[in-house]
């Protein structure tokens, strides 16, 4: 009987596998893929510079971390086959995968992990996101394939931080080449970076995930002009435009049978940032009035041709802690006017909105938001600002009333705990709760705390929470298995293949 059961389950498995592979077309090996990208990375090192263009080329393709973020936004193993967290939440043990090789032939082991994190903590090296690693007390090599991280205190974000592009594993011999010719363990190795033009990657034959990757060659072509990207796709020079496709172009290409458009989300929260220290925005009634005055769905339709998911707080729907707060401030111009009257502005007021002219979404969103706000008497003067100036005036010196910008970093609600952050939100209760959340080992309690944090900034209407930027990757219909959503800043092509 037992044997029968065993055989039965074997057959069942085979049957299931067969139907699965029947339902999904079978991946094809080989081929070359050209991806258009708007911004060329300023160097290929994701640890010493924060431009999102860097991980969008190298992360997951050339360089890998101990863990990574899967397509559904959850943390999955990468170079660490498994990991254990101690009961007190202060010790993480990673069992590394065996038989992993770097592109230069060096076998990957625990010493590389130790080197990587000691470099990230080295004050001599300019690491912009060092706060991800500030809670690490020590990195110990237990044996050649076991690493122990001891933390100073519980940090519930620790594992997530290890899945960020900043935490990619490198080896000592090639660390100084990271910016110009990175050597990693990823499915593709760097062949050439023709500066100003493209980055060429080739299949790494000794990649540790068996049977991957499918493609032989991947080229990232840097095409700044959006209409030139579309022309390249239509002319056949380009196979995929991974992100930043303008929504109206996506709408057109969706109707063309030669192409397909995936409508997913990113981690970029587009917000109407509000300077909390400036009058009249220091009054919560004014901020709530603004929240009631903006019709999010009309805004998304107008600025983004309907692509994009509305949000009610500073968190993207792909985040496991996300809750839907979009109904907190329904579109209600009457109520907005009433709140403004209560705050002492029955006739509204005048202010300036500074829009970073580099980002089309921000410009359009700002223009439409300005129009909606004018309906309730808030008259905004629009100032288009060059990016370098925006960083200097708005971001560094908080010299602004309002602005529109997308915050692309995943899981970045902690920026609201920093009173010096450019929108200058200073709420001790929020700061305490965040600290608690970050030190809470119990996943359920932690979730509750993150929910409370989202509600807090919604209640205070700190910024106008508008929408999450859509991913809208657009490609030839032969390109298969591209990521629909971008829960992490990356364009991972490991599992992408081309239908013949």
């Amino acid at each position: 009987m037992r044997r029968f059961l065993f055989l039965g389950s074997v057959f069942l498995t085979i049957f299931l596998l067969a139907t699965l592979s029947y339902a999904q077309p079978k991946p094809v090996y080989g081929g070359s893929l050209t991806i258009a990208q708007g911004v060329e990375p300023p160097g290929l090192d994701p640890t010493t510079a924060t431009s999102a263009a860097i991980p969008r080329v190298v992360y997951g393709n050339v360089l890998e971390g101990l863990v990574r973020i899967g397509r559904d936004g959850k943390i999955v193993p990468a170079l660490a086959g498994e990991y254990r967290i101690s009961k007190d939440g202060k010790e993480y043990t990673f069992i590394l995968k065996k038989g992993v090789k770097f592109h230069d032939g060096k076998p990957f082991d625990a010493e590389d992990v130790k080197f990587t994190f000691e470099r990230l903590m080295d004050p001599q090296i300019t690491i912009p996101n060092r706060r991800y690693y500030q809670d690490i007390e020590s990195v110990e090599v237990a044996d050649s394939h076991t690493v122990k991280f001891k933390l100073k205190n519980i940090n519930s974000m620790f594992l997530f931080n290890l899945a960020r592009p900043d935490s990619i594993i490198i080896n000592k011999q090639t660390a100084d080449r990271l910016k110009t010719a990175p050597v990693g363990t990823g499915p593709f190795k760097l062949v050439e970076w023709i500066r100003g033009d493209r980055v060429i990657l080739a299949k790494f034959e000794e990649y540790h995930r068996k049977g991957l990757p499918y493609l032989d060659k991947v080229t990232f072509k840097f095409i700044g002009d959006p209409s030139a990207q579309i022309a390249g796709l239509k002319a056949g020079d380009v196979d995929v435009i991974g992100y930043d496709v303008s929504p109206e172009n996506a709408l057109l290409l969706e109707k063309d049978p030669k192409f397909k458009v995936l409508n997913g989300y990113t981690t970029t929260e587009v917000i109407l940032s509000t300077n909390q220290t400036r009058k009249p925005f220091d009054d919560v009634r004014v901020r709530r009035a603004m929240a009631h005055a903006i019709d999010r769905s009309a805004l998304i339709k107008g600025a983004m041709s309907g692509y994009g998911t509305p949000i009610g707080s500073h968190m993207d729907p792909g985040n496991p802690y996300y809750i839907d707060l979009t109904s907190a401030y329904p579109y209600h111009p009457e109520k907005a006017r009433q709140l403004l009257t209560e705050a002492g502005y029955p006739n509204g007021f005048e202010a300036v909105i500074k829009l970073p002219e580099r980002f089309i979404y921000a410009r359009r969103t700002g223009e439409i938001a300005a129009d909606m706000l004018s309906q309730v008497g808030i008259r905004l003067k629009i100032e288009l600002t060059e990016w370098g100036q925006w960083i200097d005036r708005v971001f560094k010196n908080a010299d602004f009333d309002l602005t529109v910008i997308g915050h692309s970093e995943p899981f970045d609600i902690d920026i609201y705990a920093n009173p010096k952050y450019y929108f200058r939100y200073d709420n001790p209760k929020f700061q305490e709760t965040l600290k608690k959340a970050e030190m809470e080992p119990d996943p359920k309690l932690r979730r509750d705390l993150y929910v409370a944090l989202q509600k807090m900034i919604t209640e205070d209407a700190v910024n106008g929470f508008l929408y999450v930027l859509p991913s809208i990757p657009t490609m030839k219909k032969e390109v298969m298995n591209w990521w629909k959503d971008y829960p992490m800043t990356a364009q991972d092509v490991t599992e992408v293949w081309i239908q013949k």
Binding site: E40, P42, G43, T48, A49, T50, S51, P123, T126, I127, P128, N129, R130, R131, K179, T180, I194, R195, G196, D197, R198, K221, F222, I223, G224, D225, S227, A228, A231, G232, K234, A235, G236, D237, R358, E386, W387, G388, Q389, I391, D392, R393, F395, K396, E409, I415, Y422
Partner: protein, 314 residues
């Protein structure tokens, strides 16, 4: 001629010195901290300070300028902040795109405009003349980048004859490289041709009304000889002046057109460098542009003399 050359060289150096001071001052004044742009908006003040120190940005402006000039005197333009490679090699590799592009677009402009200008001056107020004038009017009104997009739509997207953009190195496949420069050169050339056509026409009309043309006609010379030898030769000086101005202007045009066709040229390099506040690269390219403009003016001056031996240099 020798004194003239010496004078020119002196002017070149003075221009460069002035340009270097101006560009240094401008880059000081424009807001935007390179360290902040590299490290992003989340970086801590300590990290920012560390990077500034590494880049030598923490020293006083005068010291930095003197240091830069010392390096420059040794022939070293420095290293690019974003690419981390020597700037001279970066610029040299980009010139392999921009210089052929500039030359090709000038050739297009001249080849299109001069025959058209001559033709319309000889057929003044006739349908052909009107047609050409309408063309040049449109050409003047249309910006090069828009012409570029239209050309892409026609030749790349619809006909699939030429690539929509991008560039393969000359070493890889010279024919392919040339092919990818055709459309951008044409879009730059068309706009310039419009100006040159009008210039040629009016210059020719002026000369054709001169007494010596009437004399040549009454001598019974063939129309071809009159047009090429007597009229065009004398009409060419203002045309050459405009061509020279346009050549100097080509780099500015290249910034936009190289972005439309995503060509890795000098124009695109300076555009991205400004966005990234890669100061050493911006300085290097502006100096290069200054050198080129001074050199182009020199070539034009020499050309005047060749074309009109009456012109002398003091």
């Amino acid at each position: 001629m020798t004194t003239y050359l010496l004078k020119r060289t002196l002017i070149l150096f003075l221009t460069l010195l002035l340009v270097s001071i101006v560009i240094f001052a401008v880059l000081m004044v424009i807001p935007g901290d390179p360290a902040q742009i590299i490290l992003g908006i989340q970086a801590t003040p300590e990290t920012l300070q560390g990077l500034r120190q590494k880049m030598g940005m923490d020293q006083p402006v005068i010291i930095r300028y003197l240091h830069y000039m010392k390096q420059l005197a040794l022939g070293d333009l420095g290293r690019s902040i974003t690419y981390d490679v020597p700037i001279h090699s970066l610029i040299l590799s980009r010139l392999q795109v921009t210089i052929p592009l500039a030359i090709l677009s000038l050739i297009f402009a001249v080849v299109i405009s001069i025959p058209m200008g001559i033709y319309s001056s000889l057929h003044r107020n006739k349908p052909g003349d009107y047609g050409i004038m309408v063309f040049s009017q449109v050409g003047l009104a249309v910006p090069a980048f828009w012409a570029g997009i239209l050309l892409i739509l026609l030749f790349a997207v619809t006909l699939h004859w030429l690539p929509a953009g991008g560039f393969n190195s000359w070493g890889e496949n010279p024919f392919k490289a040339l092919k990818s420069l055709l459309l951008p050169a044409l879009s730059l050339g068309l706009v310039r041709a419009a100006v040159l056509t009008r210039m040629t026409r009016s210059s020719m009309l002026e000369v054709l009304g001169e007494d010596y043309i009437r004399t040549a006609r009454s001598k019974g010379l063939s129309k071809r000889i009159i047009v090429t030898k007597h009229a065009f030769r004398n009409a060419i000086i203002p045309i050459v002046t405009i061509v020279g101005l346009q050549a100097g202007d080509l780099l500015a045009g290249a910034i936009i057109i190289e972005n439309v066709f995503h060509l890795p040229g000098v124009g695109r390099l300076v555009f991205e460098a400004i966005g990234q506040r890669d100061l050493p690269v911006i300085q290097g390219i502006v100096l290069l542009i200054a050198v080129m403009i001074v050199l182009i003016n020199f070539v034009i001056d020499v050309a005047y003399r060749y074309l009109d031996p009456r012109i002398r240099y003091e």
